[in-house]
């Protein structure tokens, strides 16, 4: 029986395993150093915040794996020998495989800052990082101030986490506004306000010069590059993005770039070795996507695709329309299609932006200047129906159509106050149109003839 070995029990590896099991009877083994069972990485923050216990982040009950004949091995893969098709594992006996799937995920970026390896300096990615955080910042007595370096999704999560334990947080963001390499300025500005509203000391346009130790080699303070200001702190959170976790492959014959180089079939340069998820790097970017996509959803989609290939139906990784979501403190964010920030957008990409006069709610729709085709949408504080917007993107609907049918795509809970009429009236006045908003229609939404 063919033996499939998967390195990494994150969403990519586990999705691949589940789908291979659905399609075949192959022997499946998952090797992980991080945890005994699959858990949702994105939920680690809730464990620290006390919303959940660690067990709650595990999507499957412990008996699931045995029942589905997926073997779990706890250990750290130190060497991959593609000639002999075997793995050397620290903490478990060596394994041999017929097909290898590398799904080893990411690790936090470190950019060679002085002091970056001191006690009290850490990233937030793995279960071990969470455990370390409990040590470094259990409460505001042990951790009198934390400094977070890097204004992205993990940075703001870490800030939210620490605030639930009343730990004062200084948040250094290199950009002139939070996440404005991705978000258009109106949205980014709104998030700045919300961060400050949560009593987080947000420092825009500030980067890290160095981290200073005390006499015991523990972090004592950091120095800001731009101002030279020294800030005392007991914890430094390094959240300036992640990079593929592929160091263990350096001696192998598998081709590496920043991650494991793969083609559209998620195959590496070596026969029977594949890579999926955060650690995979496409030779050429797909559409507007980046060559490395460190996102939950893409990890899952690659797992679904590769399972087909492994089970004899060789298939390209062909993601559909881009989508993503996040939560910035209390504000939910969803995106479908592409809305680029001012820094990255083309001249032909026009934005329509609406923001609620009082509440932290806004929406940006991007469309093409000439054809008026909608390119994407960002919403903050409004939920959208994935299926409907995805369909509109496929159908290449115009901005006028989207505005007219905006109510069909609303996914907010029942009885919520809706803002479609304000949005459309701003659209009409911004672009000199006279769109009439249509009523929500179940037949259109659910595609019933």
């Amino acid at each position: 029986m063919e033996h499939i070995v998967i390195i990494g029990n994150g969403i990519a590896g586990v999705t691949a395993a589940r789908h291979i099991r659905k399609l075949s009877d192959k022997k499946i083994t998952i090797v992980s150093a991080e945890s005994e069972y699959f858990f949702s990485r994105t939920a680690l923050m809730y464990v620290y915040m006390g919303h959940m216990k660690f067990e709650h982040t595990q999507p499957y009950e412990n008996h699931f794996w045995k029942k589905n004949r997926i073997d779990l091995v706890r250990g750290y893969v130190t060497k991959v020998n593609t000639q002999e098709k075997s793995l050397q594992i620290d903490g478990a006996p060596n394994l041999s495989y017929d097909k290898l799937i590398i799904a080893s995920g990411s690790k936090p970026n470190k950019f060679g800052w002085p002091g970056q390896d001191l006690d009290g300096v850490q990233g937030l990615y793995s279960k071990q990082d969470l455990e370390l955080l409990e040590e470094n910042a259990p409460n505001s007595k042990v951790c009198k101030r934390a400094v977070i370096i890097g204004g992205g999704l993990i940075g703001i999560e870490l800030a939210e986490m620490l605030r639930t334990r009343d730990i004062p947080v200084t948040f250094l963001v290199r950009e002139s506004s939070f996440w404005n390499s991705v978000l258009p300025s109106g949205e980014s500005e709104m998030i700045n306000e919300h961060i400050r509203e949560h009593h987080i000391d947000l420092r825009l346009g500030s980067s890290l010069k160095e981290i200073k130790p005390d006499e015991n080699g523990k972090v004592k303070s950091i120095v800001v590059e731009e101002t030279g200001e020294e800030i005392d702190c007991n914890l430094v959170g390094l959240t300036a993005g992640v990079a593929p976790n592929v160091d263990f492959l350096e001696d192998s014959e598998i081709e590496l770039g920043r991650g494991v180089k793969v083609n559209r079939f998620l195959e590496t340069n070596i026969m029977d070795a594949y890579a999926i998820g955060d650690c995979a790097e496409q030779h050429e970017a797909i559409g507007n996507r980046r060559p490395i996509e460190a996102v939950w959803y893409t990890g899952r989609m690659m797992g679904e695709t590769l399972a087909q290939t492994i089970c004899g139906n060789r298939m390209e990784y062909q993601p559909g329309h881009w989508f993503n979501s996040a939560k910035f403190l209390d504000i939910e964010y969803q995106t479908y299609g592409w809305v680029f920030s001012e820094r990255r957008k083309k001249e032909t990409e026009i934005h329509f932006h609406w923001r609620h006069p009082k509440e932290k709610i806004c929406i940006t729709v991007a469309f093409d200047k000439d054809s008026e085709t909608v390119l994407g949408i960002n919403t903050f504080g409004i939920r959208l129906r994935h299926e409907v917007f995805d369909r509109w993107l496929s159908e290449k609907r115009t901005i006028d159509f989207v505005m007219e049918h905006l109510r069909d795509t609303n996914f907010d809970p029942e009885f919520y106050t809706n803002f479609e009429s304000q949005i459309v009236s701003k659209y009409n006045s911004d672009f000199g149109k006279s769109i009439n908003l249509k009523k929500k229609n179940l037949k259109r939404i659910f595609q019933i003839a």
Partner: protein, 534 residues
């Protein structure tokens, strides 16, 4: 950074201490309870109306003050920080203390009301006496242990309802739902029945007396509604009494199915019902304690449906016992009644087995067949033997056992007493026959579902953790499948706590209500079709 082989327990140390305001609020609330406790231990208060007012006000203001301090100054949003660190909400010491205290209260209430001061012939004593003035004001009679309980129950729903309104003030669905349960408890469960009692003996009732009737309390939750003494009272109270009896019958056979078809069982369980109302308000801090395992789900299905069978048999037996045999006196006789029950059950069973079998799991089908055969056999056995008592037990024995096991032990002692241990909906999930019947309709014949939003789920587990009914919501959401579960009471918290906007409670078309996708939206269209077409 070494990221492996570092096994360590996660021990949270959040700020869980109380603010000064909260401490004072706790002191105030406890003193209110203290007055009641002193009354239990024979301290006689001179001016009962004054002390009762003091006590209830202190409890209410204390609780409201505490919630105001906890929520009103914070930015609106999800407020679950530290839930699993606090001893009261994570089965810690305070959780157990509260559980034991509540359980003890229910044991005394149901089985030893004399310790609360109930005196059947003569003036009440102790804590019940303290409630006499309020009871006399409302219904003109001295209080009973049930009046005391009803008052405290209503106060709990109101003050914890206010807490819930603050906690979820960003969520209009939650606010409206909570206002609704607060209204139905105060109006329908508490004030209207008390006022109705004032009509007793009045000429608009033809001089008759109405039984105590909480109009929103529907059979089989209200398992005693069709007992002989109540039927006599209804029938002796003129057109109003007769109307109420008809309303009771229509409630279960007509009103309930229509509303459940349109909105799911939530219209009742989390918008109207008193048990649900208490669970959603006072029980909100314990919703995360429900057991999400597939094993618990299996136990739930067997136990709750067994209770339905039990209550059906018991009610049939009780009604049968007081019916006559002479058709010339009254059209409904023992035999027509039994034939009616058997026909109705056969129709329901037939409809499910013919049209809806695919939606039932294997064990549900076996269970349904087994129970159907047993009931029909018992009815048939009796019908042809023409024995004096129906079924194998006397109707009185069935009635007493049901009232003791289900009505008291299950719904009260375990259902509410164990809030801090098993979560807030133990009764609704494992015991309530009404919830089971509504759930059966919801699963098989309703427009209600929780829609999963394409591929947006990140499997974080907030939805499952905070589901009071122990539904593993995530198991569906991460597959892109809608949630259509018999037990879902539609509280909407899964949707509220979801950080990615994945879940929406809604009423939609029956077609495509359950979407089972093996590959989720966001992927290559060909791959989705390929896998999902299987």
């Amino acid at each position: 950074m070494s990221t492996y082989n570092k096994n360590m327990a996660l021990t949270g140390e959040p700020p869980k201490s109380l603010s000064l305001g909260q401490k004072m609020a706790v002191f105030m609330g406890t003193s209110g309870l203290g007055i009641l406790l002193l009354a239990v231990f024979n301290v006689s208060f001179p001016n009962k109306a004054l002390w009762l007012t003091l006590s209830l006000s202190a409890i209410s203001i204390g609780t409201i003050w505490f919630s105001w301090d906890a929520y009103s100054k914070k930015i609106p949003g999800i407020k679950n920080d530290g839930v699993w660190f606090k001893s009261i909400s994570s089965r810690g010491l305070w959780g157990w203390v509260a559980g034991l205290a509540l359980t003890g209260f229910y044991v005394v209430l149901y089985f030893y009301p004399e310790y609360l001061g109930l005196v059947n012939d003569g003036d009440n004593k102790d804590v019940i006496a303290l409630f006499d003035p309020l009871s006399e004001f409302l219904n003109g009679n001295p209080a009973s242990q049930w009046f005391v309980y009803g008052t405290l129950y209503t106060v709990a729903i109101l003050v914890f309802g206010i807490k819930f309104l603050w906690k979820y003030r960003h969520n209009r669905y939650e606010r409206l739902r909570t206002l609704s349960v607060m209204f139905f408890q105060t109006g329908f469960a508490f004030i209207i029945p008390e006022l109705m009692a004032r009509l007793n003996g009045h000429k608009i009732l033809d001089g008759g007396s109405l039984p105590y009737y909480d109009l929103k309390n529907i059979w089989p939750l209200n398992y005693y509604n069709f007992e002989g003494y109540r039927i006599k009272m209804f029938l002796s109270s003129g057109e109003i009494g007769f109307g109420l009896l008809i309303f009771g019958i229509l409630s279960i056979f007509v009103i309930t199915p229509i509303l459940t078809y349109k909105y799911g069982k939530r219209w009742y369980c989390s918008w109207v019902c008193g048990c649900g109302g208490l669970a959603e308000t006072a029980g909100d801090s314990f919703r995360q304690l429900s057991d999400k395992s597939t094993f618990a789900w299996k136990v739930e299905r067997w136990v709750v449906h067994s209770v339905v069978v039990f209550v059906t048999l018991m009610t049939t037996a009780v009604i049968y016992s007081y019916l006559g045999t002479d058709t010339s006196k009254y059209w409904l006789t023992k035999s027509t009644f039994l034939i009616g029950v058997a026909t109705l059950l056969t129709l329901v069973f037939g409809w499910v087995m013919i049209f809806k079998r695919k939606q039932l799991q294997k064990d549900a089908q076996y269970g349904a067949i087994g129970y159907f055969v047993i009931i029909i056999a018992l009815i048939g056995f009796h019908f042809f033997s023409g024995d004096g008592e129906v079924f194998l037990f006397k109707s009185g024995t069935l009635r007493k056992s049901y009232s003791f096991l289900i009505g008291s032990i299950f719904s009260g002692v375990i259902g509410t007493g164990f809030y801090p241990i098993f979560g807030s909906r133990v009764w609704c999930r494992f015991g309530c026959p009404m919830a089971a019947i509504l759930g059966f309709q919801q699963k098989l014949f309703s427009r209600f579902r929780i829609t999963t939003n394409g591929g947006q789920c990140i499997s974080c587990g907030n939805c499952s953790t905070y589901c009071e009914m122990g539904i593993d919501v995530r198991a569906y959401a991460q597959k892109g499948e809608n949630i259509v579960r018999a037990s879902c009471v539609g509280c909407g918290i899964c949707s509220a706590v979801c950080p990615r906007g994945v879940l929406k409670l809604e009423n939609g078309p029956l077609k495509g209500r359950i979407d089972s996708n093996q590959v989720l939206l966001g992927n290559d269209v060909d791959l989705m079709t390929l896998v999902n077409e299987k």
